[in-house]
Symmetry: C2
Subunit: 597 residues, 2 copies
């Protein structure tokens, strides 16, 4: 298995040198006390937790998985103790506002902890992550009494929580859901129905589980306009926060899955469960959707976490494994063969991993700062950050997870046959990662959100806002000869991005299917350009440090990785552009009979 | 799980209408009796075997896997009986020459059976496939007495066999192997050593296992010039073919793997095993390499088989799953939602699967005919076929398996969250398929073989031979207006292929690392053009049938799939071209310290 080491130097570079986090934190209203020293201390403790507590769980987590016996789910050995430490360490409360009992720290700091803790064993951190779903729903849509009743024990880790949305017949199409809620005389509701794919729906880590459940009140309108959001605990919670009787919420089955085997994916049955309504009837999706952006960035983070550990494994193997000689002459003449790192194609694989992983980190941390600004920024900062997040959240979710599939795929490939063997850990990482392009909205759904709802839905404004930022950046650096190799292609692609959007938009006026036909290629195209903008900026920072005389290999590494990205990965925009501009006809002309034959 | 149906209509199209197999078989010296009727009968029986005998094994194969207890391996329930039927049905003897007890049929026919039988459960067919490894070694390098001694009971399925090459410290770099052979007074050898990754090294399907083993005779030269090939059975085989005592060949462990769990991947220990030498000492690789081309096409076939069943699953799900409405208005107004097949992006995924799978079938079946020609053709046919196979075998192996990863990836994606659930079978297909880009030479190894050994190694001649064929084809069809959309881009890319090769070749003269730096992108680029040539020809055949008045949906389907391929997949050549022409510097400039930081 791969021994995870938190990538502290790169995290430091991104936070301090690329994103100027000191200045960022100082400008957040109400978070001024978070200086760099406190941040460093928290990150350093988080790294220890990831390396010392989570890392040892990884292998056993996959081997043992979860088991369901007589309605009770057992998690792998060590999970309960680790979750206790997670709660006691205060990790569950990092980004929760102080008035709700949290530490009131900006959520961007939580992202860093999330990356590190998730990398060795994402299945473990899912329990803590999902527990915050009802907390966020309560903060966004609950009364003070409801918040006081349910939140505190989730924050200590004594209780956990879930988000219950999917039913067997409805995943992406949430308006189809059928779980029924009937109002009782005392103002509570009684739930009847069944959900699937509920992560942590049942487990043995906590005393109680607080479920946030979407259901349809008797007589509600059809579709998404008739969906309400409820809180229903596994054991009833009295108004004073004390625990009552079993609430008829049970786990009917757990799924056997490709990966994330230690995260219990449950079929949940509500056989007359009592629930409290959050907000108003039929307005549940409004509250729930506030959760969605965070969930999407959290899933982008899974891509980064899995990619980082896959890169660490592949790099360490490539340095040790001796196989064949370098084409340009032996590099390890005293050994029986050269380390495979000498082979250009192995380097291509490692650099592809590195360029994607570090690009993902830059994007996700940057967007996490934008989330901080929506919470603690000035009014104008809030507006600007919201605009950026509208455009870049679907890109981050889909592009980071899709490119991460390539990263964890290459991790297996670098190991050769040994990558297929479970003991080495690389295939487990690829399996765990495979769901990231699916849950919290598939790549297809993100792409429709990007091009349909955001870009074309705003008449191009949401995109123009960002291409203007890139344009300004390119203009400001157009005379910088050292950066010309990055600025020139970025400026050209940035211009092309607008043109391509216009072309797709025009086609879409005549035929709505053109939007879907272009969508995923459009998103991938947009992702490559977004990463180019980030890599150009990181190269700029690195160049400045080198010009100032630094010989820290990180700076030359950044510069060379940026060069690799521009030379070998960015050209993929050409293929995506050609594919999306080919239009919908080749997709839609095919009859069902022609598919089958 | 996915219920496999042999794709008989497409197989028929490729064999009869695209590849004119009737004429092909009639021209093979010694195979003239194989008419279309006999071929149809064999394929029809093969389809039944795949659907009725292999298909029911798939789910249990993955669930149960293989177990090792006290040195004995047990395969999943049903394997033993199915293997017995495989042997009794004569499937093991299809392509074996009559003088060795086989049916003497062209091996291209065996490919068709291999595709079908392998699709539902590749792990099962591996036992039969590997059993033919020692048979082929014996035919290519054994004496008549050796052949008579070991081959007959393998052909009946009473015995099986293996190919033992890899050791813990040597996979791609076979020259490093250490297993030692010491010559005995009676002319046999005694083997001492250990091998890993031996498929079917131990199992409970057959009475004996005949191992073909690479080892180093005491005092042999270092590297590949000191490698000899031996036959060593699990139970000794006397000269009259009767079975003797246990031969000190034992299974030390079986690997826990990502997929193919029902194929026992064994650590094999030789503790003084008796062996007979094939051919001369130190010339083992020459015999073994004759096996490699067949093994590489066989692995390309795995890509096709896994892709076909993944497409079948995805298509059937897309037709049934109701989720959201078509962007261009409801298509299933009486239902709660439209089948997801109405969504352009779902169609993009299905068509990507279809275009790759059918392209793979066309390429592999065509190359299987070339293999026939190397065996049964005239002298000039042998030469031409050999030239084509030299170029196209590494392309087939790497390009079919790499594109097949995309196919089985999309199969999971079309299912959404349900694709991650084991019961639905789609994730198992992706896991089983994952090894195909690794074993029998990784994609990196195939790519080096293609560009280094074949193309540049022949001064371009091996490539020119093929681009001339494509050029001629384009010339012959340049006035065919109906095919212009295919012929024009094919001709342009065919020309570019030569230019790009020249550019890489020139760089390589100055720096050998340029070969490795370009290799995988060069192979993928070459694969896309090769598929374009095949799709243009299939479109031509389809167009002729449509012009002649046929309303078989297969023909319009072929034409539209070709169009999709040209419009949406072929443009990927642009990205691969840019990446490979970017050169080696961005790969080689990075120091080890810069990778680590």
């Amino acid at each position: 298995m791969v021994d995870y080491k938190a990538p502290l130097r790169d995290i430091d570079f991104v936070l301090k040198e690329f994103l100027n986090c000191e200045q960022h934190y100082a400008g957040l209203q109400g978070c001024e006390e978070l200086g760099v020293d406190l941040m460093d201390a928290i990150i350093s403790e988080g790294a220890k937790f990831a390396e010392n507590v989570v890392n040892p769980l990884a292998e056993i987590a996959d081997e043992q998985g979860c088991k369901l016996v007589d309605g009770k789910v057992t998690t792998p050995v060590g999970f309960k103790e680790a979750f206790k430490q997670w709660g006691e360490g205060g990790w569950q409360t990092l980004g929760i506002p102080a008035e709700h009992g949290g530490q009131g720290l900006p959520s961007s700091l939580g992202s860093v902890i999330g990356e590190m803790a998730g990398a060795p064993c994402w299945a473990f951190t899912m329990y803590g992550g999902l527990a915050l779903a009802p907390v966020t729903c309560l903060i966004n849509g609950g009364t003070a009494a409801q918040q006081q009743r349910f939140i505190p024990k989730i924050l200590t880790g004594e209780w956990a929580g879930t988000m219950c949305l999917t039913e067997a017949h409805c995943g992406s199409d949430v308006g189809l859901l059928r779980t029924k809620a009937v109002k009782n005389d005392d103002g509570t509701y009684t739930l009847q129905g069944s959900k699937i794919f509920i992560s942590g729906g049942e487990q043995d880590l906590t005393d109680n589980i607080i479920h946030a459940i979407l259901a349809r009140v008797e007589g509600a309108p059809a579709g998404t306009r008739g969906v309400s959001l409820f809180i229903a605990p596994k054991y009833w919670v009295n108004e004073d926060g004390s625990m009552g009787d079993f609430n008829n919420i049970s786990c009917g089955a757990i799924e056997k899955k490709m990966g994330l085997k230690a995260s219990a994916t449950c079929v949940m049955n509500y056989d007359g469960a009592r629930a409290v309504l959050l907000g108003e009837e039929n307005r549940g999706l409004e509250i729930m959707f506030k959760l969605m952006n965070a969930a999407r960035l959290g899933t982008a983070m899974q891509g980064l976490s899995m990619g980082e550990i896959s890169y660490q494994g592949a790099l360490s193997y490539a340095r040790e494994r001796l196989q064949m000689r370098s084409l340009s002459g032996p590099k390890n003449p005293d050994g029986p063969a050269d380390p495979i790192m000498v082979h250009p194609d192995v380097r291509r694989m490692l650099l592809t991993q590195k360029a994607f992983v570090e690009g993902q980190r830059a994007l996700i941390y940057w967007l996490a700062q934008q989330v901080d600004l929506t919470q603690f920024g000035s009014d104008i900062q809030k507006t600007e950050a919201t605009q950026l997040l509208e455009l870049l959240t679907p890109i981050a979710k889909a592009f980071c997870t899709e490119t991460s599939q390539e990263v964890t795929y290459l991790g297996v490939q670098v190991y050769g046959g040994h990558g297929y063997i479970s003991d080495n850990g690389m295939e487990r990482i690829a399996r765990d990662n495979r769901i990231s392009t699916v849950y919290e909205g598939t790549t297809g759904i993100q792409s429709l959100d990007l091009i349909g709802r955001k870009v074309l839905g705003s008449g191009g404004a949401v995109l123009n806002n960002f291409t203007k930022i890139i344009h300004k950046y390119c203009k400001a650096n157009e005379d910088n000869a050292a950066l010309a190799e990055f600025i020139a292609p970025l400026a050209a692609l940035n211009k092309e991005w607008g043109e391509v959007t216009l072309a797709v938009g025009e086609k879409a006026m005549a035929n709505a299917d053109e939007v879907g036909a272009a969508s995923v290629d459009y998103l991938m195209y947009s992702g490559y350009i977004t990463f180019a903008y980030l890599w150009a900026q990181m190269a700029e920072v690195a160049q400045q440090k080198l010009d100032a005389g630094s010989n820290d290999p990180l700076y030359s590494s950044k510069l060379k990785t940026a060069r690799f990205y521009f030379q070998r990965l960015l050209p993929r925009t050409a293929s995506h552009k050609a594919a999306m501009l080919a239009g919908a006809d080749s997709l839609m002309d095919m009859s069902e009979a022609e598919f089958i034959c």
